[in-house]
């Protein structure tokens, strides 16, 4: 596809902007098919993803360990730029990946931790217990997956942590409306938790 000759581009100019159109360069990949000939690529992909699921526990162990190490580095060096960025990145990856790997509660806890790092005006003034509880909760949910797989336990743990974190963030951002707005805004992603 990519080596095909680029289609002609048309430009229509206006006082404030240009509108640029080109014939759809990806047109060739779209075709009509009889319903009987259609397969289901989404079902095929879901089956392939299910085939990977045997590796998810080990992947999640790696992600949780990375977060623990990042927090250990913070305890050692304080919240310098590198340590802070690595901790945020580790939490952010868990936030994005954990639900796919079957650990939605760990994703919720990691999301809460990301919000603290992103919105606390001074990370050195955040109570250490708040960080510790988040990091330990991710480890607990991942390592005791069977025990915590009961949605009620893991969900309640993540919910309580989120509530405590939000209360803290609302309090310390009371004079920072742009942060307050972001903290109170709903996520675009509906929670998987009951």
């Amino acid at each position: 596809m990519a080596k095909d000759k680029a289609p002609a581009i048309q430009v229509k100019s206006y006082p404030t902007h240009h509108v640029i159109t080109q014939p759809n360069p990806l047109k060739k990949v779209l075709s009509r098919a009889e319903e009987k000939d259609l397969d289901d690529p989404v079902a095929r992909a879901e089956a392939a993803l299910a085939g990977l699921s045997g590796e998810f526990k080990s992947w999640m162990d790696t992600e949780a360990e990375r977060l623990t190490k990042a927090y250990a580095a913070v305890l050692k060096t304080g919240f310098d730029d590198d340590a802070c960025e690595e901790m945020f990145r580790a939490a952010h990856d868990i936030k994005g990946d954990a639900a796919t790997f079957g650990y939605p509660a760990a994703a919720e806890v990691a999301d809460s931790l990301c919000r603290i790092i992103e919105h606390a005006p001074d990370l050195d003034k955040v109570p250490a217990e708040l960080f510790e509880h988040h990091v330990n909760a991710v480890q607990a949910i991942v390592h005791d997956h069977t025990r915590y797989h009961s949605p009620t336990v893991a969900a309640e743990l993540s919910r309580r942590l989120r509530r405590v974190a939000d209360d803290y963030l609302i309090q310390v951002n009371r004079n920072r409306p742009e942060h307050l707005e972001a903290i109170l805004a709903p996520s675009l992603v509906p929670s998987d938790l009951p």
């Binding site: 596809m1 404030t16 319903e35 952010h92 992603v189």
Partner: protein, 181 residues
Amino acid sequence: MYRIDFNKLRFLVCDDNPHMRRILRTLLHSFGAREVNEAEDGATALEMYTHFSPDIVITDWAMPIFDGLELAQMIRQPEAKGNPYAPIIMLTGHSEKRRVTVARDAGVTEFLAKPISAKGLYQRILNVVANPRPFIKTKTYFGPDRRRNTNTAYIGPERRVGGEAEIFQQPSLLDKARSAV
């Protein structure tokens, strides 16, 4: 009915997390894609973009060296040597509305919040293949038209000057395919 011939599409996947790259590669290959190039940071992705000329870019936001947002901004350079029009799907753990707005303003074509699903990814790919939007160039923006719909009830300052003629839609291949059935 319609289908996408994935084996004719060339993908560039950019994510610093090896597990997510594996998930994406698995999903794309299951859809039928053969050419899936991978990069673990924005700088490598930009180099690969120039070298491989992918049809569709799927990128994470938070990455080392430079991130997915900067990657999108660098691809969307109208005077650049490479193709500035390739669809960019941003796949990210950032799920706040303001992030979507920032990504949109960087020229991202579609936004997909993690956790990823096969259905969500397929729908975004289908949308960029079947419903390409015209590009808009202003003093401060170059990228796909950020107005997906014409809102007749809109009240507020008109940021574009030019009257009705500025609404300039490409026909949707998807609609054509549907109406032909």
